[in-house]
Amino acid sequence: MTSVRPVVAGRTDRARHQRPALPGAAARRGRGARRSERLAPYVLLAPAVLVIVLLRLWPLLLGVNFSFTGDGDRDGTMVGLDNYRELLADPLFRGALRNVGLLVLLLPVAVAIPGLLATFIYLRVPGHRFYRSVYFFPAVLSPVIVGAIFNLLLAFDGPLNTVLGGVGIGPTDWLGDPDVAMFVVVGVHIWATFGMALVVFLAGFATLDASLLDAARVDGASLPQTIRHVIVPSLSRTIQFVFVTTMIGMLTSMFGLLYVMTSGGPEGSTYLPEYYIWIQQGQMNRPALASAASTVLFVVMLVVGLLQISLLRRGVREA
């Protein structure tokens, strides 16, 4: 394994270098280029570029700019860093950032579970096809449905507490206890999404050189040894990819769960930046403050993503 390149950029680079000379160019030169033909690529790209620029990239710039303006009476006037100061002073937002820290700490768990399961499935545990389709199913359910189902299961008078009561454990207020609720929501999120990461891992395994595994078996390596010395190094790129996408997923796709399961409560203990943005923009009518929170979320995502990539690279080099 030589140097590991960033997942996306590395691949597009290579793909571009390998691309053979493109058609049309030669034929066009031979026949005298017609204008409509020369413009064709731009015409084909026009709708996509328009939509992406107008509704994705432009709003990003607009939002950053917006975060330095005021709300309400001061709408449209530049207020410098006031919004950011207010954010950092807001216990709700601080709690949201603390929860992001918690997510980062739980990230290895969210990656290890699908990684291990994919390993077992790849090693052909009996019934592996069945396991794969069962594990993948929750990943296609809407977070709203998942949240509603777990609202039922985790209710104070619900089935989980009934079962625990049966073995003598007192009831826990899973979604009503500020010390517990965030862990519960993250747990449900992992339950609902590990199937996606599992499929990604299996796709990575498909590129693995099987002779390495055979060699490890001939040498009498145990399963943990095989995982540590053969599978992890060979799948380093997949592991990186799963780390980054799982983190992005945790930071940007838990809204449905939070909205349905806890609405940010109890006592604001389950706020994440995305939920904070939603509340400030919709309920509190503070769009500029919400934009500042958006900008912070974007920066957090970039920093965490880049940190992960550099850490994981170093880890791979040392392994």
């Binding site: 709708p47 796709a203 769009p287």
Partner: protein
């Protein structure tokens, strides 16, 4: 396929089966509760419903206006997926098979958009939509979905079209096809497997979305099915079986699609992670 593990693998089957149970059970439990009477549920949460009772489902279906929400979801998702596949395949074809100035910059621009989550642009996008008079309209929601999932669609279509040998396009050009003719007669049919995978994934993403629909469709009659599910809780907090029925109704379409097309869904996810 021969097995690659020693007999000890049967031991692994135990935790894996338990986990499979933990994955399936919540849904089975919900379906079971949906079939119970309220009295039955209060007396015993776990007993099997003594009959398949559909009246809760009927109640949930009729009372919340679910039919309307379902129609909203089906309409917006269908329109969004058609546009996504059309724009995505046009762009993917151009970026993978044609040479023109600025192609790599445009490709990188599309990729960059992948890393801009909706939450980050939510506030300004809402404002842009409001200025354009598109808030609380179907075209507005469809456009927002197209904008949200187009970068991903372009990325997958581009990497798929890169695997198609350029000689095919060359031959078609020599036969006198214009670039557009090549797209219509060759690239669209050849792209079918990728279009199917990407289309299903896009449909799932749009179908499952709640944040975008919540933001851009404030009025009750414009709710999508998933937003409708979020309103069940308040309505049936005391009537758990009917609540469970509503959840079940919302889950069934995805369950059916999954049973028939999980291969394509998994292929799409895998392609998104290994290609590029």
């Amino acid at each position: 396929m021969t097995s690659r593990v020693r007999p000890g693998r049967w031991l692994l089957a135990v935790p894996m089966s338990l986990l499979a149970l933990a994955t399936i059970y919540p849904l089975v439990f919900t379906a079971n509760v949906a079939m119970k009477t309220r009295r039955e549920y209060i007396l015993d949460r776990f007993s099997l419903a003594d009959a398949l009772r559909w009246e809760n489902v009927a109640t949930a279906w009729n009372s919340v206006g679910m039919a309307r929400y379902l129609a909203n979801s089906v309409g917006t998702v269908t329109a969004a997926v058609v546009l996504l596949l059309l724009f995505g395949s046009m762009a993917g074809f151009a970026l993978s098979q044609l040479r023109f100035r600025g192609s790599s910059a445009l490709f990188l621009g599309c990729l960059a958009a992948l890393f801009v989550p909706f939450q980050v642009i939510m506030v300004p996008l809402n404002r842009i939509m409001a200025d354009a008079g598109l808030v609380d309209t179907y075209p507005g929601l469809v456009l927002a979905y197209v904008a949200q999932f187009l970068p991903f669609t372009i990325f997958l279509m581009t990497s798929y079209y890169r695997t198609i040998p350029t000689e095919i396009v060359d031959a078609a050009r020599i036969d006198g096809n214009s670039v557009y003719g090549v797209y219509r007669r060759i690239m669209l049919p050849l792209g079918a497997p990728a279009l199917l995978s990407v289309g299903i994934l896009d449909a799932l993403f749009c179908w499952n979305d709640v944040l975008i629909a919540l933001l851009l469709m404030p009025s009750t009659e414009h709710r999508t099915l998933m937003v409708g599910v979020t309103s069940l809780r308040g309505q049936y907090s005391a009537d758990i079986p009917t609540f469970a029925s509503g959840v079940l109704i919302a889950a069934i379409p995805v369950l059916v699609i999954y049973l028939f097309l999980q291969r394509q869904i998994a292929d799409g996810v895998a392609a998104g992670s290994t290609k590029g």
